[in-house]
């Protein structure tokens, strides 16, 4: 147990055992897959038409926004060139892979989920997982055909974040009880307001920067306490999404192994 918890010495043994266990997970997942399939197959023509219509409209809107993004990107590069500051290497988009979240229950006292991709799809330990609305978590154990991921609201998870409005950096620690996050070690006079958007800061070399994490919903400042209590509601639908994106991050054009930064996520809270 010490070998596993402290040194990850028997990870290969664990992933070997997970070959035995994977069929069980997939069989348990079958009913919800079947329901998905059935609700996908037995839909009336008009519902599909409606859905198609809304999706087309949405696609149009997103494309229009993307046009603006392209011009903004060019403008930003121009301005940076005028200021003679370093270019951001975000032209190359990160490699992503859609993965399905298996409906399998793990330990009820931890926030974890199982995905249907493993080492055979190049998944590695520490890989970030992003939902449609924001960051969901990161991979903690990989097997050949499935992996386990830790959700950002687990008590042992910390995530380096940044306030989108003014760039204040913070660390968001999971509060599993309400599926929320808390910004720790922020002074009482810190410039954070309710409804501020938090994005990943890219420090710690695990999560790529700029992905939305959550919104501040509550700030309690008590002069008798050294730090403010700042509660964050994650933007990702952590308990509803059936699909997520695995991301292979590039840190400023570098590979992850070249990224040198404080390993904040590695230190679990005791």
């Amino acid at each position: 147990m010490v070998l596993d918890h402290r040194f990850h010495a028997i990870d290969t043994f664990r992933s070997a055992l997970s070959i035995v266990v994977d069929p069980i997970r997939y069989v348990v997942n079958l009913p919800s897959d079947a329901i998905d399939w059935a609700s996908g197959s037995f839909v009336s023509h008009s519902t599909l038409e409606d859905k198609n219509h809304t999706l087309k409209t949405q696609n149009q809107l997103l494309r229009a926004k993307l046009q603006k993004y392209a011009s903004l990107k060019a403008e930003n590069a121009n301005l940076r060139g005028l200021l003679k500051s370093a270019k951001r290497h975000d032209d190359k988009l990160e490699r992503v892979l859609v993965t399905e979240i298996l409906s399998v229950d793990l330990d009820p006292f931890r926030r974890k989920f199982v995905i249907n991709k493993g080492t055979s799809h190049d998944v590695y330990i520490g890989q970030p997982i992003i939902g449609a609305q924001g960051v969901m978590g990161k991979v903690v154990h990989v097997g050949p055909l499935s992996s386990t991921a830790l959700v950002i609201t687990d008590a042992s998870h910390s995530l380096p974040v940044q306030i989108n409005r003014n760039g204040v950096r913070a660390i968001a620690v999971g509060v599993p009880k309400n599926n929320q996050l808390e910004l720790i070690h922020q002074p009482n006079n810190v410039d954070i307001m309710v409804d501020d958007l938090l994005v990943t800061s890219g420090l710690g070399c695990i999560f790529p920067d700029g992905y939305p994490v959550g919104r501040v919903i509550d700030i309690q400042t008590n002069p008798s306490l050294p730090f403010a209590k700042i509660i964050v509601q994650p933007t990702a639908q952590l308990d509803r999404d059936r699909e997520a994106l695995l991301v292979w991050p590039t840190f400023g054009g570098n590979k992850q192994s070249d990224c040198k930064g404080p390993q904040e996520e590695e230190t679990g809270r005791r």
Partner: protein, 162 residues
Amino acid sequence: MSIAQKHGTSVIVISFIMALMLTVMPLPEWAEELRPLWVVIVLIYWSMALPQRVSVGVGWSMGLLLDVVNDAVLGQHALALALIAFLTNNLHQRLRIFPQSQQVIVIFVFCVIYSLIILWIKGITGTAPSVWLIIMPSFTTALVWPLAFIILRHARRFYRVN
């Protein structure tokens, strides 16, 4: 002492696989903390009925599988299940002649021992929930035991596992 003595291994294996599946079967959130300890039930039954076949070794290996299924620290369920198998093996002759109600009480105590070992290990690794939350499944396990006992005994007699 003959070949006929090893009969129905597949029934034991299938019952353990069913228990593992029930352990990870999705439940509504309120029921998650009440999920009976299925693997413990099956292990106690077999090590009570067939102590010469199902014992500490089986308990340990099932525990390792349970650790991987549950994504726990490798070895925590193994240790707890091995201890439960050992206790049941020691007490199997008494357990067999107990009336149902008394059996339920013993099963409850075993489950509490099991849960406390898990809690202890979780405490060492820094993710301990409250004691009451972790003991809740023991109550449901004790409630489910009579039914599970009847089903497993029926399966054992029907397939003549011995």
